[in-house]
Amino acid sequence: MKLILTRDILLRPLQLVSGVVERKQTLPILSNILVAVEKDNMTVTATDLEVELIVTVPLDKPSETGKATLPARKLLDICRALPDGAAVELSVEKERGVLRSGKGRFALATLPAAEFPALEQLQPEAEFTVPQAQLRRQLERTQFAMAQQDVRYYLNGMLIELKPERMITVATDGHRMALCDTQARHPCKQDKQVILPRKGVLELQRVLQEQEGEVTVQITGNHARFVVGAVTLTSKLIDGRFPDYQRVLPRMDDKVIEAAREPLRQALVRTSVLSNEKFRSVHMQFKPGELHLHTHNPEQEEAEEDIAIDYQGEPIEVGFNANYLLDALNAISQEKVRIYLTDSNSSAQIEGVETDGCKYVVMPMRL
């Protein structure tokens, strides 16, 4: 294997994949990256066995094909310290990876490429494209509700459901739920559900940042792959069944409240300062035309605030975790929000007044 390129062309893929190269590695080979040179391109692969990132770089200078694994961190540190635009020659000689630049020569230890646990070619059961901006928006608006290290392991990720002409993302930690339903053109005739683990969601968000264009999504029985320009991200899926989220959506009843988002959000931020630090409970009294917020904590401190709302029904009192309400209000980008309530023991559904497919459900607290 041998290739000649400039420092900047080599540095970019190394920076992109370094996020999945874990610090505390149990398998030594996982702190390495796989560099594979083909006729006119090079791929750099890193994996932590959960998420795999591949970056493809076209090569214009003649190169010798071959594969090798090289220590990711050290290669990145060397490249970063080389001057801008320096010419770099990378080759494998006697099981050592040798990087030459100017008058410098760096010989790195390699591990056999055949031992690197890279994924084989996938046989996708579904393949389609979505605009990057749309996927990014969908992830941003649901990911905050994912559970973290919950024993119900199927909640430690995000559900991606394909229905005819639609793609729905859902996340829940058992106390609240976020759902985003958008249009997508995909070939799936039957409904399909996969759960992308938390780590895969966060890495995907990183890859989607500040890029325009389309994402190609490939789904197999065990993996989901996202091709974003030169970057291919593949994540394992969670082996489990996601709860039936439709049953969590409350029945739409007559208690419909409309309120300006920002004043409600600010009032909640202010009053929640004096709520119980652990439970963050805020007591909400909805009356015709007015919402009364009340919090108190074990130190006998309390906060009260009234804000104007658009509501004509019977008075109703419900307790909520202020953080969950705030997460939902932060994810909605519209000026006005609508809240659906049933009674004081049922969950509330929050959404923007203009239908955009996003819905948030928050369980009440017993006060």
Binding site: L27, Y153, P197, K236, L237, D239
Partner: protein, 329 residues
Amino acid sequence: MSEGLSGLLPWHSAQWDALVARRHAAALPHALLLSGPEGLGKKQFARAFSQALLCAAPGADGQACQRCPACVMFNADTHPDYQRIAPKEEGKAIGIDQVRELIAWIVLKSHAAGYKIALVAPAGRMTMEAANALLKTLEEPPDHSLLMLITDRPALLPATVRSRCQKMTFTAPGHDMAAAWLRRQLGDDAQSAGPLLALAGGAPLRALRYAREGVLDQRARLFNDMLRLARGEADPVALAAVWDDFDLRQIVHMLSNWVADMVRLQTAAQAPLTNPDLRTGLAALAGACPGKRLYAYLDQLSETARLLDKPLNARLLLEDLLIAWPAAR
């Protein structure tokens, strides 16, 4: 691993065939508890079976091909669908964090769309919290996963763990098979196979380890010292200083073997012994002390063995044992 120490061992064939048959019938259990004395190659068996399950082209006997990409990765310990947890340091426990990491891995789908296999060895080293954390997964693991727990002391595992696993028991092979295998491994030193096997309770891998550690020489020296102690030619405290560097577990094991043989000799002069090569010396010792003291000493030995896992001063335990040596005048 040297030749013969990877792959399947001759005395594994019954267990192997049973598992391979269940694999073909698509009736593999999701959790297996492999138990049996130390030194029978249980871990090796579990590893070989794991590799065979992940191999793309296993042979007619169900063994891994050693050539396919999956086997290459497996042999390099980088196969993503195989995990093993063990104590992080020798003599330490398997903690709850290790079990949690294992669970986080096993609930993800497999890399190669086949089995996911996890080995917990030695399973008895799991702390109570770790074992409890594993229960839910042990009861209802995701499809196509196999958990193999390995232990030489199943009684150390909580009943809740044992009852959630199917059991597979390994017993020491017949003397002829074990001795033949051991002689092949020992090469030039083949004649010591008999005493080594006797010392290792018939467990061939343990016998081989003894051979590598030179345990037979140690044994001869220790026996000589015990004879001197019995004749009053040696001082127990000085002896304890000499043997301080040696593995006390090993010393306790040998002393127990000898005292058991002495009890046998007191019952019948021609009784079959675990240490037939030491018959003359043992008979002399047995003749010099009353049976009651031998039994009391056996009790003391098993108590010492129990205390070995505790943070006690090994030198003092050894001094105690030497001072109480029943054959001493």
